[in-house]
């Protein structure tokens, strides 16, 4: 739909920010930058599912949790951790929980049933969200397909499981995450064929199946604007006449990619009726520096590409 120049106003006003997108488009970096940006306004709980890549992006050592930047608390959410919170609430007694859920066989059982694992993880997120009305929980989500599977877990349980505690849990999670208007979904894309396709797919899947509208699509690693076809042709002619072969080669290479990016941007605009925020390719920065630069670009995009003096 429309290209915006800054974050939509109510994006950080919710309690939960879910970040997803195709693998490799810079999801985690974006989640980190969003967390950093949001921390200017309220306490942020940055949740990572299973992996431990975020601490490195803040230049901190990996641990099981802790403060990564002022106002940004990080935690890794594992199945064990989710089970513990949820199991203890449900069973009320830690002793019983330990005896049963620490049991090797029970663990195996849960690992073999991914729907249950997904449900427990979401349960933990819902718990965090409900417990902390003034904070923003930012979830560095999984890649599209498996994120979808996870968010649809409560529904799957409601459809298949017989009445009982599992269904109750699923319906509570469903309420907290999807029915109270607390959640915002951010999709990350790069301007390539497959990431754009998946964003379009995911946008519709979430809207239709979970009634969850995408609040923002961030377009990562934008190089800049292509020269118009006329100008390009005139330039190439001049370059060839003048014998500036290196500029001609660079122009051909970069223009070709820029035109492709432009085409995908148009497809994205046609396929996803959500605000689009263009973020620059950042040259010369990685890790912590990259996150900081992107957090700044989220406030004001600046120039494309963005160069960082080393």
């Amino acid at each position: 739909m429309m290209i915006v120049n800054s974050l939509p106003e109510d994006l950080l006003a919710g309690r939960l920010l879910l970040v997803s997108g195709k693998g490799g488009v810079g999801k985690s970096t974006l989640a980190a930058a969003l967390a950093l940006r949001a921390a200017r306004e309220k306490p942020v709980r940055l949740v990572e599912l299973g992996a431990e890549t975020l601490p490195r992006m803040f230049g901190a050592p990996a641990a099981c949790g802790g403060q990564l930047a002022p106002g940004v608390e990080w935690q890794k959410l594992s199945l064990e951790r989710a089970l513990e919170t949820y199991g203890i609430i449900k069973l009320r007694l830690r002793l019983v929980y330990n005896a049963v859920f620490e049991h090797r066989l029970v663990k195996k059982f849960l690992q073999a049933m991914p729907v249950l694992a997904d449900l427990m993880m979401l349960g933990h997120i819902a718990y965090l969200v409900e417990q902390q009305p003034h904070a923003l929980v930012v979830v560095d989500g999984r890649a599209t397909g498996s994120m979808r599977q996870m968010l649809e877990a409560p529904q799957a349980v409601l459809e298949a499981a017989p009445p009982g505690p599992l269904r109750e849990a699923a319906s509570w999670i469903q309420q907290v995450l999807f029915e109270r208007g607390w959640s915002r979904l951010v999709l990350a894309v790069t301007l390539e064929e497959l990431p754009v396709n998946e964003a379009v797919e995911l946008y519709h899947a979430f809207r239709d199946r979970l009634n969850l509208a995408t609040s923002l699509v961030t377009v990562n690693r934008v190089w800049g604007e292509a020269l118009g076809p006329d100008l390009e042709q005139r330039c190439r002619k001049a370059l060839q006449e003048a014998g500036a072969v290196h500029l001609d080669h660079a122009l051909a290479m970069v223009q070709a990619r820029l035109r492709i990016q432009q085409r995908h941007l148009e497809r994205l605009q046609a396929g996803v009726p959500a605000p689009l925020l263009l973020l620059p390719e950042v040259i010369g920065a990685s890790g912590q520096r990259l996150v900081q630069e992107l957090a700044q670009a989220l406030a004001a995009p600046g120039v494309f590409p963005r160069r960082v003096a080393s």
Binding site: K108, A143, Q149, E192, V254, G284
Partner: protein, 379 residues
């Protein structure tokens, strides 16, 4: 140099991080096989519709083999000596066929296929997709008309899941977890709700406070029904493991040259190695070509300025933008080479590293795929 990577292989498994072009390269390897006279089948197990996408085909019907004839390939400039077959895995169909191969026709088979858990299994359990895939792979390789099977897997963490699915499957079905947790539910439900086995009963009772008793009961019924399949499953799982570790299989790690992708590829390669698999090939996709050396300034710059001024009626930022493009190419190229050098230093020697260039078109049709094949393999 013609790369003889596919000689003597029956299976190529494509692994790698998300978003690096695995599906595209799976298709390219399929084309290369077809060009060297092999009857190849490219199988994708990714739930997204990427294979069709990468080939510029409207749709692939899940579960149905589509063949691209030599003529169709030739029309796209590809000198194929055999046709190329494509298949998108349909978990439901593969699973049904697998069950049908394991269980003789009759009431037991029908009861498994109709059980509500069976339908749910196909939709919701990632492991099941992988299981269905390895069943399909073995089945296709047993068919006479396939020389080489190229398998495109889901992104990296899942790729490891994919290869180890048989092992996990064995652990899960073998595990007494089922017997301990689930048997008591079954026994109790048959004995009208009374628990007989004390120890298992305690675990089951507590877990049921959490999942509900009915859920365990249903599950127990399903496990009981499928128990007869365990022997067959074990046999197939072992067969698949052996195949992927034998020289007939080539594990091909695909990555892009970006930092994140390279790191993930390295992690994946180590994890595979640690679990007894050998990556024979690493393909780095979408390399930015080297910028060309500028001729001496005085030969072209003044002239270019004049030409541009004349062409563009006084718009002055044109040369600046052109310089900017050159600078961008230089910067992207330098960063990429540094990263690649470090990456290749850490690869084991027996893993061969080859690269595929970034093309000036998006690779999403047969013609572009053919071009990419030529760039990688020549000929």
């Amino acid at each position: 140099m013609k790369v003889q990577l596919l000689e003597g292989r029956r299976l190529v498994v494509i692994l790698g991080p998300g978003g690096v072009g695995k599906t595209t390269l799976a298709a390219v390897l399929g084309l290369e096989a077809a060009c060297s006279g092999k009857r190849a089948l490219v199988l994708t197990i990714d739930p997204a519709l990427r294979l069709a996408n990468a080939l510029g085909i409207d749709r692939l019907t899940p579960g149905r083999v589509k063949a691209l004839s030599r003529r169709e390939l030739a029309a796209a400039g590809i000198p194929a000596r055999e046709k190329l077959k494509l298949l998108m895995l349909d978990t439901a169909t593969s699973l049904q066929q697998a069950v049908s191969r394991q269980l003789p026709p009759g009431e037991a088979r029908e009861r498994v296929l109709r059980h509500p858990f069976f339908a749910k299994l196909q939709q919701d359990l990632p492991g099941v997709g992988e299981y269905a895939a390895f069943e399909e792979i073995l089945f296709r390789l047993e068919q006479e008309e396939v020389d080489l099977l190229v398998v495109d897997t889901p992104p990296s963490n899942h790729a490891l899941d994919f290869l180890s699915a048989p092992q996990k499957m064995l652990e899960v079905i073998d595990r007494q977890a089922w017997r301990w947790l689930v048997r008591p539910a079954l026994v109790a439900s048959r004995a009208g709700g009374r628990l007989i086995d004390f120890a298992g009963g305690y675990l089951a009772r507590t877990v049921s406070r959490f999942t509900g008793w009915e859920f365990l009961e249903q599950l127990a019924g399903f496990i009981d029904l499928t128990a007869v399949m365990v022997g067959g499953l074990r046999h197939r799982s072992e067969e698949f493991l052996q195949l992927t570790r034998s020289p007939a299989s080539l594990l091909c790690l695909v990555t892009a040259a970006e930092q994140g992708a390279l790191e993930e590829a390295r992690r994946l390669q180590r994890a595979l190695c640690g679990q007894g698999w050998d990556c024979g090939l690493c393909l780095v996709n979408r390399l930015m070509p080297a910028p060309q050396k500028p001729p001496p300034q005085e030969h072209w710059r003044g002239r270019l300025q004049r030409l541009l001024a004349a062409e563009n009626q006084g718009r002055s930022d044109c040369l600046e933008r052109l310089d900017g493009f050159y600078r961008l190419q230089q910067e992207l190229y330098l960063e990429q080479q540094k990263r690649l050098e470090e990456f290749s230093r850490q690869l084991p020697e027996r893993c061969r590293l080859i690269s595929a260039p970034l093309l000036d078109v998006d690779v999403c049709d047969l013609r572009a795929l053919g071009r990419l094949r030529r760039e990688i393999f020549g000929g």
